[in-house]
Amino acid sequence: MSKVIIIGAGPAGLSAAITIAENGLNVLVIDEYMKPGGRLLGQLYEETNGNWWNGIKESQNLFDKAVAAGVEIKLKTPVSNIEKMDDIWNVYTEDEVYTTSHLLLATGAAEAPLPIPGWTLPGVMSVGAAQVMTNVHRVKPGERGVIVGVNVLSSAIAMELKLAGIDIAAITLPKMNIVTEKSGNPLDVMNSLLHVSHMAPSAFVKMGSKLMKNDFMKRMGITFFPKNGVKMWDIPIMLRKAVVEIYGESQVEGVTIATISPAGEVIPGTEEKIAADFVCIAGGLYPLAELAAVAGCPFYHIEELGGYVPLHNERMESPLEGLYVAGNITGIEGAKVAISQGVTAGLAIVNSIDGGKQEAKLNDSIKAIEETRNDAYIQFHPEVKTGKQKLLNFWNEHQKAVVS
């Protein structure tokens, strides 16, 4: 029997691999990165119980467990294509073609940009890049940075950079244009922040969730939002300023910011310069589903899940036989949800191979995903459950269409 193949050694891929190997099957995990863990590697935050969620340790634990269970892990191995031939999935890497009857895609997420004049200058990087450089490789992305884009991910990473002794001059908005329409609108940003109030130890967002129950209060809140921002972990969060340009001769020297109206329009004459040697762009995550796309999987665009996601059911099965998905490829959520989804995908694969002996465990694992989701510390999208329901509806429609 061929090995089960998993593409992606992040939390979803590794937990699926452990589940499958512990059930006595052979598993190969392929990842293009040099370390196992995926985006989990960079994560570092204090949980409500006072414990630190340390992505490096969590990744190491998953990796050790996988190795102990007999999982084979191939790092530094990019997959360029997958293709089904004669009921067998072919997985193409630079040096070899691997084949399997059961293939799990756990390729995670990619970052969307917020284009700003000057954003191609060296020293401008995605906020995730700064996180990895700081926490994983332990090199400062710079001495003093500006983070563009105010959201859950950027505020969490701002705190991590601060923890490593890096000065963050400000977290602020991008100048509004067609691309940055939502991220550049103070009211929209304020709205999305109200859902992460528990993350802010300062009065800033808490004030929001208590006072801003209705649109009028929100508008008042943003109108009277202090021009120089409020501080969170001693970092000014500026919802009434926007970066209009990143400047520098051959690399970043600073940003030009301007005051903006509550609707996001730049107020002329308010431009000022902030010196910085790096800039982080925080445009949010979207599911990285390119392999599912080249395989011919149907896709649906679901805003609440972060973009186009491959069609799948609660068992993490795609409509293509032998193709499974788990983790952020199925929608943007935290690492703990990804781990739970990995277990379900793993059990679904085992169940398919051993002729349905895992039904009970599989159903329990689906419930466990739901519980993990309910307990999640970080909600990337407040309506993620609505998004999951939409996807399930699409799945049911698809199944009906196939049967009839």
Partner: protein, 112 residues
Amino acid sequence: MTKRIIHHPVLDQIDDTDTVSFTFDNKKYKALRDEPIAAALLANGIRTLRNHEETGTPRGIYCNIGHCFECRVTVDGKQGVRACLTPIQEGMDVTSGEKLLTSVRDWRANNE
């Protein structure tokens, strides 16, 4: 190497004693063994990894996890290597990408 975060309030201290030598555009630098080329260069204060093939604008790391290909460099003669995904090894010869001739485009711009 002051750009390194040796001590961290939560994460373990890193070992900065196991070093290797490499060259970037023929200049010699030191790195920590197995760290990615991109991290080694940044630790040495180097942000510009290449110049855009057509316009020559300077580029550095952007996504740092292999998605954007902005950090592609030439390593021991092999082109298009992602500096963010490639562990540095003793004696590695890393060179940045330079602006290429775009003769056809330039000719068209002047003659059409």
